[in-house]
Subunit: 303 residues, 2 copies
């Protein structure tokens, strides 16, 4: 029985960075988050692909022990396609083309079994869709985490705020937080997140790490892990989110001290993800390597 | 006898930010760095002002115990003037006008006494001028730190690199490092700095903190201190540099562990500086407040 449910996209990505390119590889927020979560607890992925999605593609998830029974296959449309490139500012993906294809029709319908999974990650998607998934849960999840992105904030900021209010923790990056709350100051953004019924405000800052504000006025900041050789940052935010929730699902402790450890572990997993194209690095990643990088983080911040 | 010499500009600044404005207040990299350093060791400031620079202005330095005997007064020209504004992206000053005035003619000539000061800070300036000051020192300083800025990197990158090679530690921010070494990757930038005969590469990242790379492959990262109310970030980089060198001059220990502590202390002082316009906050700052914020940093990074 899976312990963590990730609902998000599966796509076919073609990405070029100054350090190479990946052509037609599996991507999508659901893929990255589920693979990252699977290091910690049995994970199920709910998504929709097209008729072109091969058995070989599906096996990637199955090899990670991911429950793929919730991945619907569209009878006529193709899988979502994303083409993008990164310039020397590796933090900023430039989308060249996006075709939602099968994913455009995706209305997630949870099976009875999936509706009982205690840990829920809602990868970035239309907030209406995210809210509908949350409503389908047979009981309130032990912990629900949602992600969002600039596209939906521009389109319907009120609905995104409603989603953040409905989930236990709403993840966003600094640019998204600034856009959603109309202030550049991240402390003010965090206070707005906390007002949305959240015990924790977590703002991701890409290569500059992550910050956590909690409702008892405590503040935690973790710098980014400095990589000399970044190949492809695609999916790092999704891998971060999946590992974060996976760690919490495994440890079953939502104290601030454990939330901090979850953020460090999530940062470690996300940093590995950037070391290769697609989620290739995650496929060879070991528990020992994750623990080793967490130990490195301890040395990095020591004074 | 001063223990730290800061050579840099004194200007009259008019700055507006989304949170207010300061009109014709004392600024300049020499001012900020000397005031910040003066919290730790007796400090001398070498600079040039114009005939309009009032006694009241000069008293600000004297009240901090700063040796002002090296501040020349130009017989006919006015003090340097800088007018700038910040938008909601508070990290990015937009210069509306700069008139070097008296400072354009400034060729620092160190007194015999100043040439013997063991700790030297060369605030951002023309690298030729910085190199000439270093040559005037009666003996090699115990520690010399130089700063730079985009203007000089664009104008003469080879000379800036020569300055970084000549000083013990060359400070720069992330954008400057990327410009100087033509790569966005900060680890690669740091390696280039280390190749320039530096034991430590320190890259300032504004509100995202600071990173330190040392020649034994050790890496330290400190996140920024999250301020909810930033009034004016002008001079934070200079205050950071002055406090950093001041701390090292006071403690006389250049081990990496103490360099890390110096960076935390410098970050604390710089964060206070942003809390008010000009260097007003530094004028009321106490040792207790600095120590208190360093302790806060320990809690912020704890996991």
């Amino acid at each position: 029985m899976p312990n963590l449910l990730s609902v998000g996209s599966i796509g076919i990505d073609s990405v070029s960075t100054p350090f190479g390119r990946a052509n037609k590889v599996v991507g999508g927020s659901g893929s990255y988050s589920a693979i990252a979560a699977s290091f910690f607890v049995p994970t199920a992925l709910v998504s929709m692909v097209g008729k072109d999605f091969s058995k070989k593609h599906m096996e990637v998830f199955e090899k990670q022990g991911i429950d793929t029974s919730g991945i619907e296959v569209h009878p006529s449309k193709k899988t979502m396609v994303w083409r993008a490139h990164y310039g020397y500012d590796i933090n900023d993906a430039k989308t060249d083309a996006i075709k939602l294809n099968a994913y455009a029709d995706f209305v997630p319908t949870l099976s009875e079994r999936h509706a009982r999974i205690p840990f829920l990650f809602l990868a970035n998607s239309d907030p209406e869709q995210q809210l509908s998934v949350l409503k389908q849960m047979a009981r309130k999840p032990r912990l629900s985490v949602c992600d969002t992105m600039n596209f939906y904030i521009k389109k319907n900021p009120a609905k995104v705020r409603e989603m953040v209010r409905s989930a236990d923790i709403g993840l966003m990056n600094d640019a998204e937080a600034r856009m959603l709350f109309k202030t550049t100051n991240l402390v003010k953004c965090a206070k707005e997140i906390l007002k949305l019924n959240s015990k924790y405000a977590i703002i991701k800052k890409g290569e500059n790490g992550v910050v956590l504000f909690s409702d008892n006025n405590s503040y935690f900041a973790l710098p980014g892990y400095a990589l000399e050789n970044i190949k492809d940052p695609t999916g790092c935010g999704d891998a971060f989110a999946g590992a974060f929730l996976g760690f919490l699902a495994q440890s079953m402790n939502f104290d601030e001290s454990n939330i901090r450890r979850a953020l460090v572990t999530a940062s470690a997993v996300a940093s590995f993800n950037a070391e290769d194209f697609s989620f290739n690095r995650l496929l060879s990643l070991t528990q020992t390597e994750i623990r080793q990088r967490v130990r490195e983080f301890r040395k990095i911040v020591l004074f």
